[in-house]
Symmetry: C2
Subunit: 338 residues, 2 copies
């Protein structure tokens, strides 16, 4: 069925040279006469020869596959997609290809896919940790696979991480609501197993406490996994006694779900909303959604740069790099308490 692919020997036979000469031409080593070189190139074209990347790698001294693995929460999420694109834009000019996969917050998947990419000898791994323990990757690190974490810092693994200023950014968003006079600000956040969710909540707590307020546990909901759940939570909070006058939503899908609920209740111009993480069209809703914007492109680019530095042999202690967030005022966060 499958035809055998042509090898360097086939090319050599057709060009009537030794197969080492073919290797020289393919790798542009030089030291081949123009005559032979053109014969070889002709044979390569005629046979549609493609050097076998796997075999090449086996003997090569630098032992590089020029491939990296990218493990994100969900490639369909706009944040992850933007990170992926930024990584790709760093990789392609370097001749590096990218394996990508989604983890869906599943630590078992993190382990399995990291192993898989490691077995394929990816030069490096860019990981948005799903679990709260990355010690299982120590073996891959020892084996020479460079690792850098994106979006969330690694736990129990000495590697570089690139993360947004989660606590500071969340604090800024909440202080913005406080400045408008809000005192009952609800917090809606992702699973607390996720480090970024904990950090954002810390920003919320600190901002309230700095204003002399206490956190009302009835206004705090963790472990929200999607827009639908957020919608339900907002709906029931608003139906309860003493509802909040503002919401701080700590993740983009949660923000969208919350807005959908407010909209359905006809409260989108009455209840303030500040979300963490920007999203497409946030400016075109009415009111526009005020957000603490992350910079996924900067995060992806920086993480890729650090990874390629490590692959190139950069040493030094692991560092955590922070990428600043920006408060973007669009209307929903400037609504006063009713």
């Amino acid at each position: 069925m499958t035809v055998r692919r042509p090898t360097m020997r086939d090319v050599a036979a057709r060009a009537e040279v030794s197969f080492k000469t073919v290797s020289r031409v393919v790798n542009e080593e030089g030291g081949v006469s123009p005559q032979l070189e053109s014969r070889v190139r002709k044979a390569i074209d005629e046979l549609d020869f493609r050097p076998n990347a796997g075999a090449r790698n086996l003997r090569r001294s630098d032992n590089r596959t020029a491939a990296i693995g990218l493990l994100l929460e969900d490639v369909a999420n706009p944040f992850s997609a933007a990170v992926q694109r930024a990584v790709e834009d760093e990789a392609v000019p370097r001749g590096v290809v990218v394996f990508s996969a989604s983890l869906d917050e599943d630590p078992a998947r993190e382990r399995a896919l990291a192993r898989e990419f490691s077995a394929r000898h990816a030069d490096g791994l860019l990981l948005a940790p799903a679990g709260d323990d990355q010690s299982h990757l120590a073996a891959e690190l020892r084996a020479g696979t460079a690792i850098v974490c994106v979006d969330r810092a690694a736990t129990n693994l000495p590697v570089d991480s690139v993360v947004a200023t989660n606590t500071i950014g969340a604090g800024e968003g909440v202080r913005h609501l406080l400045a408008s006079g809000h005192r009952r600000i609800a917090y809606l956040g992702d699973r607390s197993t996720i480090a970024t969710a904990r950090e954002r909540f810390a920003g919320y707590e600190q901002a309230l406490e700095a204003s002399g307020l206490v956190v009302d546990p009835r206004l705090v909901v963790h472990d929200i996994r999607d827009a639908g759940t957020a919608d339900g939570v907002v709906t029931s909070l608003m139906a309860g006694a003493d509802p909040p006058t503002a919401f701080f939503t700590a993740q983009n899908m949660i923000t969208i779900g919350a807005f959908r609920a407010l909209r359905r209740l006809g409260l989108e111009h009455a209840v303030a909303l500040v979300g963490f993480d920007d999203f497409l069209l946030a400016d075109l809703l009415s009111p526009g959604i005020t957000v603490v914007a992350q910079d996924p492109v900067a995060i992806g680019r920086l993480a890729a740069e650090l990874l390629f530095d490590r692959i190139a042999g950069a040493s030094g202690p692991p560092q955590t790099r922070l990428v600043p967030t920006t408060l973007v005022r669009r209307g929903s966060g400037e609504l006063p308490p009713h």
Copy 2:
């Protein structure tokens, strides 16, 4: 710097068996006594041994790498991202990893990346064609790389394709505007080098002609590449003499740009808008945006299934599978002519 990774020989030495026995254990070939097997497994764990996927593939008879390449327009575009996720969900359960890359409508990138993945012996390639000639891939096909096209049909290459019902869907969208009484309907489309753009325009033309209308060239603008350009086109059309009473926008970013312009002009409730391809939050804008929705998940899933069938040896003539579109009424497409 980089430590040598342990090989089967290292494992064999530590377990005091021949390295072929290690191979048997790793591949679960059977025919190994429980005693030896447990010694081998222990050694594997202690050394963190990972079989080298590249080397394994070199000698293997089935010659499979269990990797596929995915070439999309732009992984950060929501449509592409949804396709990618669907493909991944078919691949991972089969133990197959996915290389992905963005082409940005650049035929040269299509060629270069297809070659790259082919050299790495990807078992198959899923491609959203960037150029209008895929004949350059014939060599990869001959070499045994299965290819399936997604979103756009292949040109000059006998492979399966999975595409949306572009002409029918666009026709339905335009007829929907005609049914509300619109006669001056502008068409805003992507580059005409893209087959889907041509098909959608054909749907527009056919719908108008079936109603006895002629296409007014002043209302037709092709080659719109992004939301910003679409915004400018709408702005100038509305400023001209005899402006359209409705817009049909043939791609999601164009729809967003058009809406942004109408919104700025204060015309979003006065001028009708129907877009091709759905997007997140289209329902939460005011008015909600009426769209001809594609089903990127169905497209990606079906394309992946066809690809894995071909990889498994399915023969038969190339087929083009159509995935139906759906008209989603949300308000913007139901506005009457002023």
